[in-house]
């Protein structure tokens, strides 16, 4: 997260003090309209929950781990409340995951103008226009695999109720590269769907059949991209997995 990168120094001390119990207490999960606030540099994204405003993150570019949500849709926000100084008027959340809810919500249209009192306390990794010659975030090159070859597992995470999207090519390419490097004999894919318990106690469950859809889709994508020699074993568990955003996933095991 861009916030994590910039605020790391500040956060370390408070992080150390956090006990597991208070982390659970600080855990927030809610669905509301996202709010975008312009600033002198890039816009920042907020959401309101029970009369409080939370800061989600800023606009950067496609390389960022945090992708801002969408006006015209509600957003599912999952993260931990911090006692860090407010950013753009909102309380920062740690490990925040936002997920654009698929249905239209035309009334979610709040765009707040830039105000001098709301300035980002850090430099944006990417200006609101051309970059400085590199993407905001970079990723390590995958290391060369040496025999003896082992099975390796990969995980693909999804937006709430979501299937494949712009964030998946990176993981899918990693699967393909590993599979071709080890000349994989089989690809085992297991699909899941998630259930999130919201802070108000309600359960938000992903649509039925999604575990199967995700698993089959991934197999089709890999085969469609040319990874046809391994044998595919595709299974799913459509029983909703209660927990955080990591439950909205598939597991892929690439076996030599």
């Amino acid at each position: 997260m861009e916030r994590a990168v910039v605020l790391r120094g500040l956060l370390l001390a408070s992080l150390a003090l956090h006990s597991a119990a208070s982390a659970a207490e600080d855990h927030l999960a809610f669905v509301s309209c996202p709010i975008v606030r312009d600033t002198k540099t890039v816009p920042c994204w907020l959401a309101e929950h029970e009369g409080e405003t939370y800061y989600l993150g800023i606009q950067t570019d496609v390389s960022a781990p945090f992708s801002p949500p969408s006006l015209g849709h509600k957003v599912l926000v999952e993260g931990e409340k911090t006692d860090e100084p407010r950013i753009c008027g909102g309380i920062p959340l740690r490990n925040v995951i936002v997920s654009v809810m698929p249905e239209r919500a035309d009334y979610c249209q709040t765009l707040l103008m830039a105000e001098d009192r709301y300035t980002l306390p850090f430099e944006s990794p990417r200006p609101p226009g051309p970059s400085r010659g590199r993407l905001a975030f970079s990723f390590p090159e995958p290391e060369k695999v040496m025999p003896p070859y082992k099975s390796r597992s990969f995980q693909l995470r999804y937006d709430f109720d979501g299937t494949v999207g712009f964030r998946h090519p990176r993981s899918l390419v990693a699967v393909m590269e590993y599979a071709s490097q080890i000349n994989a004999r089989s690809i085992v894919i297991k699909g899941y769907r998630g259930r999130t318990i919201l802070s108000n106690g309600e359960a938000l469950t992903e649509r039925e059949g999604l575990a199967e859809l995700r698993a089959k889709e991934a197999a089709n994508l890999l085969q469609g991209a040319g990874l046809t020699s391994p044998e595919y074993v595709v299974t799913w568990d459509d029983e909703p997995q209660t927990g955080d955003a990591s439950q909205r996933r598939i597991e892929i095991s690439v076996d030599p």
Binding site: P68, L71, G72, P102, P130, V164, F166, P169, M176, G226
Partner: protein
């Protein structure tokens, strides 16, 4: 008007030779046209000449050059220039050098007049609103004559590269069929082999190392939606998916086979020799503006590295330019300070071009509800610039798989004729109603029901999210190939800028419009 560049004068003999051949027919019937031959040289199929290294043509903004790298090419017996099919057309019919290797509506109208509608570009197969209409009547060719549009007929449902039918995520109905083709018993959606007709502009066949690059953004999976990338059938390698309005052909070879079969009505298969002739020419030809009225030459030796076809030939293909280290269209320092040789008018125009480039790169606005841009991690809306979508160095295309929904073909933004009791004006474009099937996620911005004049990429992918997404064209030779956008809905560069101003509520000032316009015209 303006001075011809010294280089152009030198090449004049080649021009006159080419034009002379091309204008023999018309000169007999309409002598006043012949007088204009020096201005707008039409290349007829079967033209017999040697394509010189540099050809220069005038347009209303100044001059354009076509640069053919390497050894001169003889057009005689060359598959790009010969009418190899049944209808007398060649590739060059619709990819004309004077029109930046595209085809302007001005040329189309001129050909209509000169040949009384007999030029092969008006062949009924796709040069008419529908082949069922009476030939020779201007009304039968209104989309071509008014907006420069050819009919593109695509199978429905679409098929994957192995020929297997794709199960589309949506159903499609014909709401309005002014051309008659989409409801026609033979050509339409209810025929034995259902097809959909959409109407599109020819795209420039030049600078193709940029449109077919193997560089940034080319991956086994499409960066916008994670689906598998179309691969080159010969090598199995992923492609940049930047050809045609809908990226339906992965390579030039696959494209040319279809172009020959459809546009040229060529029966059989192109030979290996014909294919390599076409690809060889396509890969060697570069097109760009070289001078601008009052601004003078754009291609002085120390001039801005963005300009002119030689710089395109030299440029790095398939790299991001949406940054301050490389730039989409690098201007360099040459024009930053006045030169003693510059006239005041020249200085003023050059400064306007520089300001236009700045607007393109740095003038922010809220980009909103645009599929495959707002959905790729930037948020909706996102505060960005023209260069956000148009980021590829030297062409201003998207680096790879550059289809997005700008609203050029989807309602409510697409150009529509007002419907009211006080006008008889009829819509010219077809209108389709797309309904996303139950169980498929609705389109994030347009919902479950979408009205569109051209579903674009969705006619190939069958995806709801792709409805109305169009692969952007290169920002080159714009001054020579109006109108703009794949459906010709912007008659001029000015109208194109106005479209963006409405679409994203940019609130350009008059000065910003003028600067952006002259900048785009200089590319």
């Amino acid at each position: 008007m303006f001075r011809r560049l010294p280089g152009a004068v030198l090449l004049g003999s080649a021009l006159v030779f080419g034009a002379g051949v091309a204008f023999q027919v018309s000169a007999q019937s309409e002598p006043e046209i012949a007088a204009r031959a020096g201005e707008r040289e039409w290349w007829s199929p079967g033209i017999d000449m040697t394509v010189p290294e540099m050809l220069t043509y005038s347009n209303s903004w100044g001059e354009l050059s076509i640069y053919t790298e390497g050894a001169p090419i003889a057009t005689k017996g060359h598959a790009f220039f010969e009418p190899i099919g049944a209808n007398g057309r060649a590739c060059v019919s619709c990819h004309q050098p004077a029109d930046g290797m595209g085809l302007s509506v001005a040329s189309i109208q001129q050909r209509w007049k000169e040949t009384k509608g007999k030029d092969p570009i008006f062949a009924m197969v796709d040069g008419a609103n529908c082949p069922t209409l009476p030939p020779g009547d201007a009304a039968s060719h209104s989309l071509l004559l008014n907006r420069g549009l050819f009919r593109i007929s695509l199978p429905w449902p679409p098929r994957d590269p192995n020929g297997k039918a794709i199960d589309p995520e949506f159903t499609i109905e014909v709401v309005r069929d002014p051309t008659g083709c989409n409801t026609d018993a033979r050509y339409g959606l209810t025929s034995d082999q259902p097809r959909i007709s959409v109407y599109r502009r020819p795209r420039p066949v030049a600078n193709v190392k940029y449109t077919t690059h193997q560089n940034f953004g080319v991956s086994p999976f499409i960066g916008k939606n994670g689906l598998p990338t179309a691969r080159d059938p010969e090598t199995g390698r992923p492609t940049s998916m930047n050809l045609m309005s809908d990226a339906r052909f992965p390579t030039l070879k696959v494209q040319m086979r279809d172009a020959a079969a459809t546009h040229l009505e060529f029966k059989g298969r192109l030979t290996a020799r014909q294919m390599s002739q076409i690809e060889d020419f396509e890969r060697r030809v570069y097109a760009a503006q070289v001078s601008l009225v009052q601004a003078g030459s754009l291609v002085e030796p120390d001039g801005p590295p963005a300009f002119g076809p030689r710089n395109l030939a030299r440029g790095e293909a398939g790299v991001l330019g949406n940054n301050t280290t490389r730039f989409v269209f690098p201007m360099g320092d040459a024009w930053k300070v006045a030169k003693p040789s510059e006239t005041p008018e020249q200085r003023a125009k050059r400064e306007a071009i520089l300001r236009g480039q700045d607007i393109f790169m740095f003038r922010t606005f809220w980009i909103r509800d645009s599929m495959h841009l707002n959905t790729v991690g930037l948020g909706n809306p996102t505060k960005r610039t023209c260069a956000t979508c148009h980021g590829m160095h030297m062409t201003g295309m998207d680096a790879a798989n550059g289809w997005m929904d700008l609203g050029t073909t989807n309602l409510p933004w697409a150009k529509e004729v007002p419907v009211n009791p006080w006008t008889d004006k009829k819509a010219e474009m077809p209108l389709f109603k797309v309904t996303c099937k139950a169980g498929v996620p609705a389109h994030p911005y347009l919902g479950r029901i979408i009205y569109t004049q051209d579903p674009g990429r969705a006619l190939i992918s069958g995806k709801c999210n792709d409805v109305g997404t169009i692969v952007m064209q290169q920002f080159r030779a714009l001054a020579s190939r109006a109108p703009y956008f794949s459906n010709g809905s912007a008659a001029s560069i000015r109208e194109l800028i106005d479209f963006y101003d409405r679409r994203y509520n940019i609130q350009f000032t008059e000065q910003e419009r003028l600067d952006l316009e002259i900048f785009l015209a200089s590319l």
